[in-house]
Symmetry: C2
Subunit: 343 residues, 2 copies
């Protein structure tokens, strides 16, 4: 199995990504094709003592898409951008899955234009795993499609349910619609129109509306929302978690001698917690609805996160997540057509 890794366009430069790949081939049964500036990559491989590792190969790409470029335009004009070259490796079946930590917009655009959607999928959706009090919840869409139509939201629910089953090992995952109240009559135009579609869909275990406070509670496995809402909520959660931990640290540091001693004593216990909350542990978000497993990591991902994303990519390929999505979406769209004929 071969994983394409786009090593360019990230916050810390290619060094963390190359190191992540070096770590990954030691842990998982896969080869990694490093896509980006060849001389830089080769030098980094040498510095990690991995220049002769046969499972790591390099594919040169002369261009990079920056975080602030217009994704659609950049993908169309920069034919030799690393994310475009890496995506083409999937299209040509040279690789089985992809990991990137560059611009999310550029990754989605490259996946759409150079890899293509699974037949029947209206719009791809970004599934982000997040820690809850009882395990892991997946939230989608976390940013691929804003102003999603109810039929996109329905497909998000179906794809998210498959993600939870195959990637998080949850049987019959509970699917909730993110809303401003539990009652069916609550919501905006979009969620009010989505609710009946989810309620009628037999491919999912729909438990009704859920609220913001349920995301981390552990009472729902798949949280379905629009790409705008998902993106804002995830970034707000990131900011709040940082703010709370900063405030805790400040309070302990300003709390006098005993508080400082106390801080030292609880440190080992909190290390486990840090691991539980760590977004690096999950590796990355998965772009669902395109023809191959396509992982999008945070721009500030360190080597460990990249390694874990490569591990998740291996899982995605082994568990045939894309074929399963293709099957279920075919069933859903076929059922929709039958209902359409009967009407």
């Amino acid at each position: 199995m071969k994983i394409a890794l786009d090593v360019m366009g990230t916050d810390y430069g290619p060094k963390e990504l190359v190191l992540g790949a070096v770590m990954a081939v030691k842990e998982y049964k896969c080869d990694v094709v490093l896509v980006g500036d060849e001389p830089t990559i080769k030098e980094l491989l040498k510095s990690y003592g991995a220049e002769n590792e046969p499972r790591l190969t390099v594919r040169h790409a002369s261009e990079v898409i920056g975080m602030h470029e217009h994704p659609g335009i950049a993908v169309k004009t920069k034919k030799d951008a690393s994310i475009v070259v890496a995506t083409d490796l999937l299209r040509n079946k040279e690789c089985d899955a992809l990991v990137s930590s560059g611009s999310t917009g550029a990754a989605v655009a490259a996946a759409l234009f150079h890899l293509g959607r699974i037949r029947g999928v209206g719009r791809p959706s970004i599934a982000t795993p997040i820690p809850s009090l009882t395990g892991t919840t997946v939230l989608l869409d976390s940013g691929a499609k804003v102003d999603a139509k109810p039929e996109h939201m329905l497909q998000n629910a179906i794809m998210g349910s498959i993600y939870a089953e195959l990637m998080l090992n949850i049987k019959n995952p509970r699917v909730g619609l993110l809303n401003i109240g539990e009652e069916e009559i609550k919501g905006n135009e979009q969620t009010l129109a989505t609710y009946p579609l989810l309620k009628e869909e037999k491919l999912i275990n729909f438990i009704g509306n859920v609220e913001g406070r349920d995301i981390n509670k552990g009472n729902v496995d798949v949280v379905v929302c629009d790409g705008f809402v998902g993106n804002v909520v995830l970034k707000a959660a990131e900011g709040l978690a940082t703010a709370i931990l900063t405030m805790v640290k400040e309070a302990i540091l300003n709390g006098g001698f005993l508080a400082k001693i106390g801080g030292l004593l609880i440190k080992p216990a909190l290390r486990g917690l840090k691991k539980r909350l760590d977004p690096e542990a999950y590796g990355g978000a998965l772009l669902l609805g395109v023809r191959a497993p396509f992982f999008i990591c945070h721009g500030s991902s360190k080597a460990k996160a990249i390694k874990n994303a490569i591990g998740a990519a291996v899982d995605g390929v082994e568990r045939n997540i894309c074929s399963r999505i293709a099957e279920d979406i075919a069933r859903q769209t076929k059922a929709d057509k039958v209902v359409g004929t009967l009407r």
Copy 2:
């Protein structure tokens, strides 16, 4: 000055609200009119030794609107519901401001139908103060109007800016539009159409788009968003904060003897932090755009939160927040008409 307090329809029953009122008249220069079931309120006043406090009076209301009733229908059919009776006290100028911790939807509906909007305001908006790393940020709309139009979002920005100035004492508050990226080209239909309106508006200090992670950072004072997004984000933040604190507690309790000792040692230091993060400290959210200060507290508010909300209501009246909104909205709508004529 007289504050109307709706003591019914909350999670813990009227006892916390009546106690909050007893505490408030000791601390602030105001009278409180307690609206709800008279026998219950009188008994509670007696139990707090406040049955002869001349600054506390009771107004009987025979009905209550529950959390799960349809707000619009309930407000129209239950003419003697406590929130309706309390709102009528504002309309008849018997009271100057109102505090409620019953159903938010019912409060908004009562304010709309029984008190009315400030001239020129398209839709009222709920302003919620939230703690940031450097002080307090106000987020609005946190749930009054979903599917807000760009012109509603503009008025949210103007009203939120006045709130930050008068209630949070921030000079020239920085106004940001909650979005999925900082660039002007980022967003959904709603934010893309709102951005130019905010950019051109001279009544506010617009600093551009902000992201979810900026809400608690302290780099923006007024965060403008749609009522759906605001509601989901606030509830997600509430859930995440609870989840993190639960996880910290669990980690310390499961961390062995030393961790437990450490936990005890940091406790006093964390007490200050709890105060800083405590939503009770802020009392409540303010419904902006209606004809009198109208505070909506969390359904689970304890006496202290109610007392603080009454304090905030006193501030709102003293600082003439509604007149100031009326002035600025008149200026904005007038300017809009002039521009309209010139086009």
